[in-house]
């Protein structure tokens, strides 16, 4: 099978995601980048599952998808909260506490 390609794809997605988290100032975009990472993880898991012929990977992936959904829900809720108070979703505005 073509394991390495998938792993490579996952790795690339992971890096893009990480880049997004670090580079983006927009909370929503950061959330999306994190989703990218999670997807790269899923790809990893599925790839390994296929290679090893075990279902654990699939199960894990399913859980991740479910939990990710919950996370996004909470995340967007928080973003809305911030937006209501600050009229912005740029995380750099959120630096009241420091030092």
């Amino acid at each position: 099978m073509f394991v390495n390609q998938f792993l490579f794809l996952a790795a690339v997605l992971f890096c893009i995601g990480v880049y997004g988290v670090i580079a983006r100032k927009n909370a929503v975009l950061m959330l999306m980048s994190i989703e990218l990472i999670l997807n790269s993880v899923n790809i990893n898991l599925l790839t390994f599952a296929m290679r090893n012929g075990s279902t654990d990977g699939h199960v894990f992936a399913l859980y991740i998808i479910a939990v990710a959904a919950a996370e996004v829900g909470v995340g967007l809720g928080l973003v809305l909260l911030v937006y209501r108070n600050k009229k912005t979703i740029s995380v750099d505005e959120l630096s009241e506490m420091r030092g």
Partner: protein, 764 residues
């Protein structure tokens, strides 16, 4: 040599007695009295003074009894027999196998000094009853005086060096309290401080010396005598046993000698003595006649074998003790010429007399030196008390001869007579006591082959005669001046205000409480010499018989006898003409001996006459000069020192001592060097004083520097800096806490990535 084979006979036990056995009471009584005075003195009718006097009387009686019984003991012994000292000791404390004893060691030497000390102290206390009447610290004064004598007495009969040290230090402390008695005046308290501190500096020597001797001697003494290495007897025996390593004992002896230099005000540590005049006159007389300053000499006499071996006394070409002694004699005598303060004249004369004693000890004239302690005590005490009597009753508490005295012989006859007697004694004029001791010293010095030193001694005698004549002239002859002429009061030397009730009427003879001691002392100054009057032949040499230890005792270690009994073996005495002692050089293997064998000079009238002539010459010259100078105001002499450069310089060297002192005081205060003065008087012995001060000054500055820079800056600084450092690290780390999420994320991931990278590299 087979000494065991030598014929031996058992001797009858030596006589002893209650007074000898219980001599340890002598210092204890004053100690108790001290405590009592401190506690209840103020409430007593005579403010505690009676306690002091009574205790001193008691010790006087006891020591007299001891002396008497000692004489009995000696008489009970045969000619060659070693008179066992009466030694009793109790274990004081033990630690780590060390046993520190406490006890008494009574022999001729201690008996003599005990008697002298108790006697003089008693008189001085009686004298003080009048002299310090109404003083603001009357009680304290007597307490200190009593403890002072107690310390001296304890030191004298100590059987081991620890107890000796104890007495020594107690005396130092009391001298501090007494000299600084009128401590409201800064000068007095500083003088007290100086005295204590100088002496204390010497004490380092004592500490070191005792320690070295202990560790060097202990094994030997334990093994052979069953005594600890602290016991004086053990050390003496060890020193003469031929056992000790020469360098160790030499260093030890030098260390001890440093101590006695400090205590006895020998050159170069003599500078504290004149300042000690700040104390009340009775104190000065006690300090200078029999106690404090004698302690140093006593130390040398007590541990004589150590010095004998360590410094190679009787060796060719003199030794440290002699040099110091000789230098002291001349230097201080010279200083005595330019003093206007009568007490300071006496002080310097004391120093130079102590020089004689040292010289004698150093030259192997042990007995004459001790005898000089004896006689000197009486006439010097008499002189000081006389001076006190003058200032007390005539010169309105001033001691300035030029300003406030003169012509007193009419108004105070008793004082005058006693003074004259003592002066003659001091100068060593024939029938008076000084002659028999001092001349004896000079004589023996020469006899032991140190002619240069003998000459120094004679020069000293000349100077002594001269400056005493000068002082006498200024005080008692010529016209009354200043206060003694009844002039109005002026700021006076020791102004203890409560004394001014005397100033109302003019000069007069002092009361009985003062004159009685004077008379008693003068009698002794006249007569005490006869105790060892060599000129009149063997039978008169009582001191030699009673005090000088029989040199040789060789105990067969197999023989066990009670104290005092011993097997006597006749040791072959030294070869003819040699002045070496048998014990001094070597000891028979099985033998122990406690004192070196010393030769005595045969008395020759010729020598005596020579020295007498010198003395008289000194007196006459000085008399004429003083008369011309002070009364006739002879034009050729007055202001001579101003006219003749060289004389002027020399004169100033001497006179300016106090001027210099002030300078150096100022140097302390401002702590600025005084280039001109130090350059001009750099070889003036008084510079020593300056050195003393500037050393202390230097130390203080240095310590200040250490404290400021090392302690506060370096040591403490590192601590504080480390604190600030941690804080600054915090500051450095703070920017990471920017509050920006994306930066947090970046940090988070980059850290993870770096860690992963590193671990990947090191693990694969």
């Amino acid at each position: 040599m087979n000494l065991l084979a030598a014929e031996t006979e058992v001797l009858a036990p030596l006589a002893s007695g209650w007074f000898l056995e219980n001599a340890w009471l002598i210092p204890v009584i004053p100690a108790i009295a001290f405590a009592l005075i401190i506690l209840i003195g103020k409430r007593l009718p005579m403010k505690g003074s009676e306690l002091g006097v009574a205790s001193m009387l008691a010790s006087l009686v006891l020591s007299a009894g001891a002396a008497y019984q000692w004489i009995q003991r000696v008489n009970s012994a045969t000619e060659e027999q070693f008179v066992e000292p009466v030694i009793r000791s109790w274990s004081w404390w033990r630690s780590g196998g060390f046993d520190f004893g406490i006890g008494q060691h009574i022999d001729g030497l201690s008996v003599v000094v005990l008697f002298v000390v108790a006697f003089i102290s008693t008189l001085v206390q009686i004298y003080s009853l009048e002299y310090l009447r109404g003083d603001r610290r009357y009680t304290h004064f007597f307490a200190a005086l009593t403890l002072f004598s107690g310390g001296m007495l304890a030191m004298v009969l100590a059987d081991n060096m620890i107890l000796f040290l104890l007495g020594w230090e107690v005396m130092g402390l009391c001298s501090f309290m007494l000299i600084g008695h009128w401590w409201e005046e800064d000068a007095n308290s500083r003088a007290a401080l100086k005295a204590f501190f100088t002496v204390r500096t010497g004490d380092v020597g004592l500490l070191v010396g005792i320690s070295m001797l202990y560790f060097a001697a202990n094994d030997w003494t334990q093994e052979n005598l069953g005594l600890s290495g602290f016991s004086i007897r053990g050390i003496s025996a060890w020193a003469l046993s031929g056992e000790p390593n020469s360098t160790v004992i030499m260093v030890a002896a030098i260390a001890l000698f440093i101590a006695s230099i400090g205590k006895s005000g020998q050159f170069p540590l003599h500078t504290w003595l004149p300042d000690a005049m700040a104390g009340p006159t009775p104190v000065s007389s006690l300090l200078h006649s029999s106690t404090m300053v004698v302690a140093g000499v006593f130390l040398v006499a007590r541990l004589y074998p150590v010095f004998f071996v360590g410094l190679d006394i009787l060796g060719s070409g003199g030794n440290l003790i002699m040099f110091i002694g000789a230098i002291t004699i001349v230097i201080s005598a010279a200083l005595a010429f330019v003093q206007n303060d009568i007490k300071r004249v006496l002080a310097y004369s004391t120093v130079s007399q102590l020089g004689y004693m040292m010289l004698g000890l150093g030259a192997g004239a042990w007995l004459p030196a001790v005898f000089h302690i004896f006689t000197h005590a009486f006439f010097k005490a008499c002189l000081f008390l006389g001076a006190g009597s003058i200032s007390h009753s005539a010169s309105h508490h001033s001691f300035d001869m030029k300003r406030d005295m003169g012509g007193l012989r009419k108004v105070m006859p008793i004082t005058f007579t006693t003074w004259i007697i003592s002066t003659l004694a001091l100068c060593g004029v024939f029938p008076f006591s000084g002659f028999f001791s001092k001349d004896e010293i000079i004589d023996n010095v020469g006899n032991n082959g140190y002619n240069t030193f003998m000459i120094v001694g004679l020069v000293g005698a000349f100077m002594t005669a001269a400056y005493m004549t000068r002082a006498t002239y200024l005080t008692f002859f010529g016209e009354p001046r200043g206060a003694s002429a009844g002039h109005s009061s002026h700021e006076s030397h020791d102004d203890h205000a409560s004394h001014d009730d005397h100033s109302s009427h003019g000069p007069h003879e002092s009361g009985l409480l003062i004159t009685a001691p004077l008379m008693i002392l003068s009698v002794l100054a006249l007569g005490s010499g006869l105790l060892n009057a060599t000129p009149f032949g063997e039978s008169w040499e009582r001191m030699k018989l009673w005090v000088e230890p029989r040199a040789v005792e060789v105990v067969d270690s197999t023989y066990s006898g009670g104290p005092g009994e011993s097997l006597i073996v006749n040791v072959p005495s030294a070869g003819e003409g040699s002045s070496k002692s048998v014990c001094g050089t070597s000891t028979p293997e099985i033998g122990v001996c406690y004192a070196p064998k010393l030769e005595h000079a045969k008395f020759k009238w010729s020598k005596a006459m020579l020295s007498m002539a010198i003395v008289f010459l000194g007196m006459v010259v000085s008399w004429i000069l003083s008369m011309l100078l002070f009364t006739k105001r002879d034009a050729r002499l007055v202001g001579l020192t101003q006219r003749v450069k060289i004389l002027g310089v020399g004169h100033r060297f001497l006179v300016n001592k106090y001027y210099l002192d002030d300078l150096y005081e100022k140097v302390i205060v401002r702590s600025v060097a005084y280039p001109i003065s130090s350059a001009a008087y750099w070889f003036n012995q008084n510079v020593l004083d300056g050195i003393l001060h500037s050393i202390s000054n230097l130390t203080r500055k240095f310590s200040g520097w250490v404290y400021k820079n090392i302690d506060q800056r370096v040591v403490d600084g590192t601590v504080n800096n480390s604190a600030t450092f941690t804080k600054s690290v915090g500051t450095a780390a703070q920017p990471t806490q920017s509050g920006k999420v994306s930066q947090y994320g970046a940090l988070l991931f980059s850290a993870a990535a770096v860690a992963a990278l590193v671990l990947v590299i090191i693990n694969t």
